[in-house]
C-alpha cells in the first residue's frame, strides 16, 4: 500500500447545477505541508467542508491510512484524526483560555452522575500546552478576547493537536494577521508538521505558503490546476497560476494599449 496518511482522490461536489469541485486530488504524507492555493470563489470553502465532513463528496474517494472511508458528519472526520481549524477558530472571546481549550470536550472528575468539570486539571493542561508553544498565559482563566490574533490561532491549532489530530486542515490561518504574528503562526505550523502531522494549509497568500509548503495545489474555478513539489515550481509561477495571474497579464496588456491610444 501507499505511505500516504490521507488521500483525497478525484473529489467532486455539485450543488444542483453548479459544479463546486471537479476531480480534485490531494495526497499527504506524515510530516508534509500541502498548501492549497486559490482565489476567492475557487472552491476552497467547499473543499474544506468536504475534508471536514460537512459535505459529502458526490464523486471520488477518501482514504485515511490506507482505508477507504466516508465521512457522514464532522465528528466522523474528527474521529479519523482529521481536524479542521476554521477561520473563525471556534473560539469564544468572552470565555477563558481553559474553557475554550476544552469547549465541548471537558475533562471530568467525580463519581458517576455527579461528574464535574475538572477545572484545575483543565487549567493546568491549557497553561502547559500554551507554554510549549511559547505563549505564556499568565492566568488560564483570562478571556480569550485579551489574546492577540496570532495567539488565538495558535490556541486553536494547539487544541486540535491536543485532541488527537493527525491531519490538520487550516483555513486561512494567517489572513487576519500582521507580518510578525503570521510568521509566528507559520513557524508553529512547520513545527507541528515536523512532529509527524500532515497539514493542509488553505490560503490565498502565496508569500505565506511558499516558505512553509512541501507541495502546492492550485485550485481555480472548482478544478485543480495540478499539484507541484516545491522544487518544480517557483513562487512567481504559483502566483500567476492563481486566478489573478492570467487576468492581470491581460489587464496589463489592455492598459498598455489604452495608454498607447491616448498618447496618440
Amino acid at each position: 500500500m501507499s505511505d500516504y496518511l490521507v488521500q483525497f482522490n478525484n473529489i467532486s461536489k455539485f450543488f444542483g447545477k453548479v459544479i463546486a469541485l471537479k476531480d480534485v486530488t490531494m495526497k499527504l504524507k506524515k510530516g508534509e505541508i500541502m498548501c492549497l492555493l486559490g482565489d476567492n470563489g475557487a472552491g476552497k470553502s467547499t473543499l474544506i467542508k468536504t475534508l471536514a465532513g460537512v459535505h459529502r463528496p458526490d464523486e471520488g474517494e477518501i482514504i485515511v491510512e490506507g482505508k477507504k472511508t466516508i465521512f457522514d458528519s464532522p465528528k466522523d472526520a474528527l474521529d479519523m484524526g482529521i481536524a479542521t481549524v476554521y477561520q473563525d477558530l471556534a473560539l469564544v472571546s468572552l470565555m477563558s483560555v481553559t474553557r475554550n481549550f476544552f469547549m465541548g470536550r471537558e475533562p471530568m472528575k467525580g463519581p458517576p452522575f455527579f461528574k464535574t468539570f475538572d477545572i484545575e486539571k483543565a487549567n493546568k493542561i491549557a497553561a502547559e500546552r500554551m507554554g510549549q508553544i511559547g505563549i505564556d498565559v499568565r492566568d488560564p482563566s483570562q478571556a480569550v478576547g485579551t489574546m492577540s490574533g496570532g495567539e488565538r490561532q495558535c490556541l486553536a491549532i494547539s487544541r486540535a493537536i491536543y485532541f488527537g489530530a493527525k491531519v490538520l486542515v487550516l483555513d486561512e490561518p494567517t489572513s487576519a494577521l500582521g507580518v510578525h504574528q503570521a510568521s509566528v503562526v507559520l513557524k508553529y505550523i512547520v513545527k507541528a508538521a515536523s512532529q509527524g502531522l500532515a497539514v493542509i494549509l488553505i490560503t490565498h497568500n502565496v508569500h505565506h505558503a511558499y516558505p512553509v509548503g512541501n507541495s502546492f495545489t492550485v485550485l481555480n474555478r472548482g478544478k485543480s490546476l495540478g499539484t507541484y513539489e516545491k522544487k518544480d515550481i517557483s513562487r512567481e509561477k504559483l502566483l500567476s497560476m492563481m486566478a489573478g495571474g492570467e487576468e492581470l497579464n491581460k489587464l496589463e496588456v489592455e492598459l498598455q494599449e489604452m495608454n498607447r491610444s491616448s498618447a496618440n
Binding site: P74, K75, L78, D79, G81, Y86, D88, L89, A90, L91, V92, S93, L94, M95, R99, F102, M103, G104, R105, E106, M108, K115, T116, F117, I119, I125, Q132, I133, G134, I135, D136, R138, D139, Q142, A143, G145, T146, M147, S148, G149, G150, E151, S158, I161, Y162, F163, G164, H180, Q181, V184, K187, Y188, K191, A192, Q195, G196, L197
Partner: protein
C-alpha cells in the same frame, strides 16, 4: 478522544517580545467577575436604607423576611432568565407563564376535583412543554427569541384569560387554601421553615410578638429557600459542570460551539424549559400563599427578571454573566421596592429607580465587556 494520542509540540516562539504587557492587578481581576456590580449595588442599597430607615422596623425580623420574600420571588425567575441570557436567548413569556401556571393549578384543583399535587404536576408538565416549544421554535427557525417569546407572551396571557373565563366565568380562582393541608406535594411550596428559631427568638423577647405571644415573623418563607437553593445549584452548574461550559459557549458563539461538538440546540431548549419551570415555581408559591389564582398574575415580571439579570452582569448578547449576580440583582430590586415604604419617598418613584439602575448596569456591563474582549 484520549489525551495519549496527542503529541507534545515544543517550540519556543516568543510572543512576549511583541506584546507590550501590563501587569494585571488583583482589582482588575475582581472587576472581571460579572456579579461584582450587583454585589456592590446591593451593599450600597443596604447602607442607604440602614441610614434612612434603620430605626423604622425595616430591619426587624418581620421587615427583613418581608423584603427577602419579595426579592426571592423575583430572584427565582431572574436566575432562570440569567441562565437563558448567558445561553444567548431571551424569554419574554415568563410573566405570562406565571399567570398560565397559576390557573393550571387552580382550575383542575377547584373545578375538576383533582388533588392539589396532581394539579401542580400538571402545571409543571405544561411548563416543560411551553419551554420546549419556545426552544425548538427558536432553534429550528433561527428567529430571534425576542420575537418568538413575545408572541408566546400574548398567546399564553390570552389563553389564560380566555380559558379561565370559559371554564369559570371569572378571572380569579379562589379557594385553594383549604386544599394545602395534608397534600403530599404542596408543602414544598407552602411551608415556612425554621419556625423553631423564630419561636425561640420570640420566647427570648428578641423579636416582635403578636398580642397572643406568638412571634410576628413565623418562619423563613418557602420562596427564600427555593431562591437560595436555585442560586447555589445554578452557580454550581455554570462554574463546575460541562453543561455550564456549554451554556457559556452556546451564548458566546453558537457556530464556534457547534464546530467543536457542543450540542447548542439541546442546551438552548433546556434553558427555555428552565425559564418556564422557574415561572411555574414562582406561580405555585404565590398561588398557594394567596390561596387563589389570578389570570393577570405575573404581568411584566419577565421584564423585571431580565432587568435583575442585567443588573447582575448578564450581557444582552449572551455568553457572559452569572446566576449569583442575578440573585443580587433581584435582592436590590426587592429591597428597594419594600424599603421605599419605610422612607418618606413616594413609592411611585420605585419604577424610576428600577429603570435608572438598569441603565447604569448596562453602561457598566458594556464597559466591562469591552475591557474583557479588548485585543492587545
Amino acid at each position: 478522544m484520549s489525551t495519549k494520542k496527542s503529541k507534545s509540540i515544543e517550540t519556543k516562539t516568543d510572543f512576549n517580545q511583541d506584546e507590550r504587557l501590563k501587569k494585571v492587578s488583583k482589582l482588575r481581576l475582581l472587576l472581571n467577575r460579572p456579579e461584582l456590580g450587583a454585589l456592590g449595588g446591593a451593599i450600597l442599597v443596604f447602607i442607604f436604607f440602614g441610614i434612612v430607615a434603620g430605626d423604622t422596623g425595616m430591619f426587624s425580623a418581620y421587615g427583613v423576611l418581608n423584603f427577602l420574600d419579595v426579592s426571592a420571588n423575583l430572584g427565582i425567575i431572574a436566575i432562570a432568565a440569567a441562565m437563558l441570557m448567558i445561553g444567548g436567548e431571551f424569554d419574554l413569556s415568563i410573566g405570562s407563564m406565571i399567570g398560565f401556571a397559576g390557573i393550571c393549578i387552580a382550575i383542575p384543583a377547584i373545578y375538576w376535583g383533582w388533588p392539589l399535587w396532581m394539579s401542580i404536576i400538571f402545571a409543571f408538565s405544561l411548563a416543560v412543554l411551553v419551554g420546549y416549544f419556545n426552544g425548538i421554535l427558536v432553534v429550528r427557525t433561527g428567529l430571534p427569541s425576542f420575537i418568538v417569546t413575545l408572541a408566546m407572551l400574548f398567546i399564553l396571557r390570552g389563553a389564560t384569560l380566555a380559558l379561565t373565563r370559559l371554564i369559570t366565568g371569572r378571572t380569579q380562582v379562589p379557594g385553594l387554601r383549604v386544599l394545602i393541608e395534608d397534600d403530599p406535594l404542596a408543602w414544598i411550596f407552602a411551608t415556612d421553615t425554621f419556625k423553631w428559631v423564630f419561636t425561640w427568638l420570640g420566647s427570648m423577647n428578641l423579636i416582635a410578638l403578636r398580642t397572643d405571644g406568638t412571634p410576628l415573623a413565623t418562619g423563613i418563607p418557602p420562596s427564600v429557600i427555593w431562591f437560595i437553593g436555585l442560586a447555589i445549584i445554578t452557580t454550581w452548574i455554570l462554574m463546575k459542570t460541562r453543561y455550564g461550559n456549554w451554556i457559556f459557549a452556546s451564548g458566546g458563539d453558537k457556530n464556534g460551539a457547534n464546530n467543536v461538538g457542543v450540542p447548542v440546540g439541546r442546551v438552548k431548549i433546556s434553558l427555555f424549559i428552565g425559564t418556564a419551570v422557574a415561572a411555574t415555581i414562582f406561580a405555585t408559591i404565590q398561588v398557594l400563599d394567596a390561596g387563589s389564582a389570578d389570570t393577570m398574575r405575573g404581568t411584566l415580571k419577565e421584564l423585571e427578571a431580565i432587568a435583575a439579570a442585567v443588573v447582575g452582569g448578564c450581557l444582552l448578547t449572551g455568553g457572559y454573566g452569572s446566576a449569583i449576580g442575578a440573585a443580587f440583582g433581584a435582592l436590590i430590586f426587592g429591597t428597594v421596592s419594600m424599603g421605599i415604604f419605610y422612607t418618606d419617598v413616594d413609592t411611585d418613584w420605585f419604577k424610576v429607580f428600577l429603570g435608572a439602575m438598569m441603565l447604569i448596569a448596562v453602561i457598566f456591563n458594556n464597559y466591562i465587556r469591552r475591557k474583557v474582549t479588548e485585543s492587545k
